[in-house]
């Protein structure tokens, strides 16, 4: 009898604790934000809404999109906070997103807001393609820095370039879609044919080429500016190059998943994501944010990045995504052996 009592007390206490924990609202938030930023974002949000607990589901853009689509008939997420707009457009075209105009949405650059009557997603920050160039390894290999995308097709860089596979990486896809938009359909594929000759291999994730360049595995990694700036801050011998033709970009954006159990909390979260404070929070890593006039220069970010961003047609990207990826795979994925 005594034994049961000693057992029962902590058990009872833990049951109490469990019910107390349930009293606060929990939101399952799917995201592709860099892992190191997650805790900071949640903390800043909780400073305003301590009663809403954010449960992150973080993975790469492709994985998160796949997860959401797989769960189409039975969504697990309440909110998507920080996923490529291209992916959100996919979800929107499946009718998976709940349209909502967050308070203060009119303060954002209209480029960063979904064009519907009631927007289904709102942008946070832009995520811009760049080339990471390892000065030490490039010098060893006798390379001169490229200044444009076209430069990268130069014979000199053969086997010295790594880029992400657009079939698994959002960054890879924004590169491909930007080349198709800048050089035209035919010119774009011609360009990629030539570039393919120089590619050592395609990686699954978008940040890996830059980290590989940072680690000296390869002199040149096609990646995005944010990653390059971070690696440079960590002490990597990197130069971040903005190709002169212009660079593709995508934005991280936020949306409410249709059918969420707790619409009210979800709306509070989305309201927060477009506040000035949130924008300042994004600004610590991203040089371009959705609210004009907020962004301060970010250390190690390349100059002229803003002007180099192309006029990205997201609808083109979303509507042609399937056929572009199929064509890409047909052209480049079949050639399995790496070029030596």
């Amino acid at each position: 009898m005594k034994l049961t009592k000693t057992w029962a007390a902590p058990l009872f206490a833990s049951v109490l604790a469990a019910t107390a924990a349930q009293a606060e609202t929990e939101l399952t938030v799917y995201t592709a934000i860099e892992a190191e930023d997650l805790a900071r974002y949640a903390e800043t949000f909780n400073a305003h809404h301590p009663d809403i607990k954010v449960n992150w589901v973080r993975d790469s853009t492709g994985v998160v999109t796949a997860k959401l689509l797989a769960e189409r008939d039975n969504p697990q997420a309440d909110v998507v906070w920080g996923l490529a707009a291209t992916s959100l457009l996919l979800l929107k075209s499946e009718g998976m997103l709940e349209p909502y105009a967050p308070a203060g949405v009119e303060m954002l650059d209209p480029k960063f807001v979904d064009a519907g009557d009631t927007p289904t997603w709102v942008g946070m920050d832009a995520w811009v393609a760049s080339v990471c160039y390892n000065t030490i390894e490039a010098e060893k290999a006798g390379l001169t820095p490229p200044t444009s995308w076209k430069d990268l097709t130069n014979e000199m860089y053969k086997g010295h370039v790594i880029m992400p596979n657009p079939n698994s990486s959002g960054t890879g896809f924004l590169d491909v879609s930007s080349w198709l938009q800048m050089f035209g359909e035919e010119g774009g594929w011609e360009y990629m044919d030539a570039l393919h000759e120089n590619i050592a291999r395609y990686t699954h994730s978008g940040s890996k080429p830059c980290k590989l360049a940072a680690a000296g595995e390869i002199p040149i990694g096609v990646s995005f500016a944010f990653r390059g700036a971070k690696s440079k801050a960590d002490g990597a011998p990197l130069e971040i190059i903005v190709p002169s033709e212009g660079v593709g970009w995508d934005m991280e954006a936020t949306a409410i998943v249709a059918g969420t159990d707790d619409l009210e909390a979800a709306q509070k979260l989305v309201d927060f994501t477009v506040t000035k404070e949130a924008m300042e929070m994004y600004n610590s890593g991203y040089a371009v944010v959705a609210m004009p006039g907020v962004a301060k220069p970010v250390k190690f970010f390349p100059e002229g990045l803003l002007d180099a961003m192309i006029a990205n047609d997201f609808e083109f990207a979303a509507n042609n995504r399937a056929s572009i990826l199929e064509e890409w795979q047909k052209r480049y994925d079949g050639k399995s052996e790496p070029k030596g």
Partner: protein
């Protein structure tokens, strides 16, 4: 004789089912249902997914064009009629993926987005879907659009059933080339691993060299790490900044070379155990006969040793083949542009969200895996006892020269294995390879990286413990029921078949099948999706077969007389089970639980589709950190798995010793 045939058949004598029999059959049915729900049904869901195709249904839409004043009086057209008239599209163009879109303007040759003409579009059925821009339109309401908006209308494909996915798979070289690649890698790795493991096992069993115990330990080490880890080690050794990349003479480690070396590393212990068992017992009389017939050692080797070990060799070959062809982690890390089937599944599902094609590749991957498995079972069933009562066990004799050669060889293999692990540990402690070689623990700050941080490490331990405890109970009990119950032959045969099946199903395939099956809201078991429970169930099922076989082997050693005696003493079977069977089989039960624990710690393939934010795992974290380019932290986490498994092994060893002295005292007199 004739009298006997003339007699009429008597009534068939049927034993009455005792209460125990009923309980045992019920138990068996419960575990059989478990296997059906966690394996057969998910696989069925996956198979049907591979036949689910998407097609544009041109007759599913109606379009009406207005005159320039904007009034709709013209005929109502369908894209199907327009296509029949214009022949824009061929039949094959209508095959699509789940994400395909197709514009409508191509059916209107004189379309201009500046024209004042208005368009009306609608679905003809409730299931129809089309997009205006990125806005999804369903239902059969007319939607009126100006011509500038009309060009943004995209048809969406509808679901149908057919062989379309397989057709497009085999007409895409990028995809079906992987079959050739996978087979090639698997065959080469098998030949190398089996050869290396054979000589290693030979040295340990047939020579008198020293340090045998240490070599046996080293040979088992790769079992304790995820298959990705050798890939990471190879990057540090032979990558472009590799420590000894000169040894490759300019060839790239990213590709077949890397996959083969890594595969040899992680499959070595599996081949070694099997071959070692085969070489351990041998009849000395055969060797004496060979000597007295003046056979050369070389001839004796080929006519006595190899035939004696042939079942072991064949079995090892198929096990290794199966491990390599179904492995996902290693080619993902080191494969470069060299596509293999297991990674294709991942790319289709995760990269392109093309679940149907992922299911097709899975079906393709299952074929060689099942084939290898079936041949192995067939060969095993032909095996006859090598050792008869009259045999004399073979004892190796000292031969200084040969022993030294074997010692040298074993040292080389041990250096290879220990070296790979040491490189990972070293890399994990380096601050920023290759530019800052100072030591730091920075790479252990997992919470700053992808993959779930330290939480995922503790999740993995939780998963491993749960899998070991629950899995051992279910599997051992199931084996007991199937082995010791009376009658019910068909039922037991079906159960045996179910228990063997998981071995032939690649982890990736199982994981994908689980998504299709458990993430269906109509499934009453849907609630376990995204929980630790589904990971435990998946892992138990994935590693069911080997555990089941271990249990059956141990149970076969117990005479059925035990059951008869307990029945005649009117003791319930469950009492016999708990008081006699379990203690007697304790060594096997402990083996099963450590096997499940270690595999749950290292598995990647089955769970990569199933983890959720609360259940990230250490092995997946290794994968994700490598994927993000954080290779050193990935190595650090991989080594954490290694140390955990090594510690579990040691605890298992101590536990076994303690338990065995208590329960196995009867074995010694």
């Amino acid at each position: 004789m004739t009298d006997a045939t003339a007699l009429p058949d008597g009534p068939v004598i049927k034993g009455r089912l005792s209460r125990d029999d009923v309980i045992m059959r019920l138990g068996m049915v419960v575990i059989a249902i478990y296997l059906v729900a966690t394996m057969v049904l998910p696989l069925w869901a996956m198979l049907s997914k591979s036949f689910s195709t998407f097609k544009f249904d041109l007759s599913g839409y109606e379009i009406q064009v207005s005159d320039e004043a904007g009034s709709f009086e013209g005929t109502i057209l369908t894209p199907a009629e327009l296509n029949a008239e214009l022949g824009v599209l061929e039949l094959g163009d209508l095959d699509a993926g789940s994400d395909s879109r197709m514009g409508l303007t191509q059916f209107f040759p004189d379309f201009s987005f500046r024209s004042p003409v208005m368009y009306r579009v609608r679905n003809t059925t409730d299931a129809g879907r089309f997009l205006v821009g990125s806005e999804l339109k369903t239902g059969t309401e007319w939607i009126e659009l100006d011509s500038n908006t009309f060009r943004r209308v995209q048809m969406r494909p509808v679901k149908s059933t057919g062989l379309g996915n397989f057709v497009s798979y085999f007409s895409t070289p990028a995809l079906f080339n992987s079959i050739k690649n996978s087979l090639m890698i698997a065959v080469i790795s098998t030949v190398i691993t089996v050869t290396l493991a054979f000589w290693f096992a030979y040295a340990l069993n047939r020579s008198c060299m020293r340090f045998k115990g240490a070599f046996r330990l080293v040979a088992m080490a790769p079992i304790l790490v995820p298959s990705l880890l050798p890939g990471i080690a190879l990057v540090y050794l032979f990558g472009n900044q590799g420590m000894i990349k000169e040894l490759l003479f300019g060839a790239s480690i990213y590709g077949p070379i890397g996959i083969v070396i890594g595969s040899v590393f992680f499959t070595f212990p599996h081949a070694f155990i099997i071959i070692s068992t085969a070489l351990a017992i041998s009849d000395a009389r055969l060797y004496e006969a060979a000597v007295s017939l003046r056979s050369t050692p070389w001839r004796t080797f080929w006519t006595v040793t190899i035939p004696g070990a042939r079942y072991g060799l064949i079995s090892a070959a198929f096990v290794v083949f199966n491990l390599v062809i179904t492995d996902f982690g290693l080619p993902k890390v080191i494969g470069g542009q060299f596509n293999v089937l297991a990674v294709d599944i991942y790319k289709q599902v995760i990269g392109q969200q093309n679940f149907e094609m992922g299911a097709v590749v899975s079906v393709v991957l299952v074929v060689p895996a099942i084939l290898a498995f079936a041949i192995d079972r067939l060969v095993q069933s032909k095996q006859v006892a090598l050792l008869s009562a009259r045999s004399v066990p073979y004892q190796p004799t000292t031969n200084r020269k040969a022993d030294n050669i074997f010692l040298g060889y074993c040292v080389l293999v041990a250096v290879f294995i220990v070296g790979m692990l040491a490189v990972c540990q070293f890399a994990a402690l380096i601050k920023f390879w290759p530019y800052d070689l100072s030591f730091s623990l920075k790479n252990y700050e997992f919470d700053r990286m992808d993959g779930g941080g330290w939480g995922s490490y503790f999740n993995s331990i939780k998963l491993a413990l749960l899998t070991a405890v629950i899995g051992t109970c279910v599997i051992f009990f199931g084996a007991y029921l199937v082995e010791k119950s009376n009658g019910f032959k068909t039922g037991r045969a079906i159960f045996q078949m179910f228990a063997m099946l998981p071995m032939a199903i690649p982890g990736m395939v199982l994981g994908l099948a689980y998504i299709f099956f458990f993430n269906n809201p109509a499934n009453p078991l849907n609630f376990i999706y995204g929980t630790m429970a589904i990971l435990v169930i998946c892992t138990v099922t994935h590693f069911y077969t080997v555990s089941h076989l271990t249990a059956v082997t141990a149970l076969k050693q117990m005479d059925r007389e035990f059951e008869s005696v307990s029945a005649s003493l009117k003791q319930p079977t469950m009492k016999l089970f708990s008081r006699v069977t379990v203690p007697v089989c304790m060594p096997a039960i402990l083996d099963i639980s450590i096997y499940l624990f270690v595999n749950a710690m290292t598995t990647v393939s089955a769970v990569v589709f199933l983890y959720s934010p609360k259940t990230t795992l250490a092995s997946i974290a290794v994968l994700n950190m490598d994927d993000a380019g954080d290779i050193a932290p990935a190595a650090a986490m991989g080594m954490m798995i290694f140390y955990t498994n090594a510690a579990a092994r040691i605890i298992h060893l101590i536990l076994s010793k303690g338990v065995l002295t208590r329960t196995q005292a009867w074995r010694t007199r």
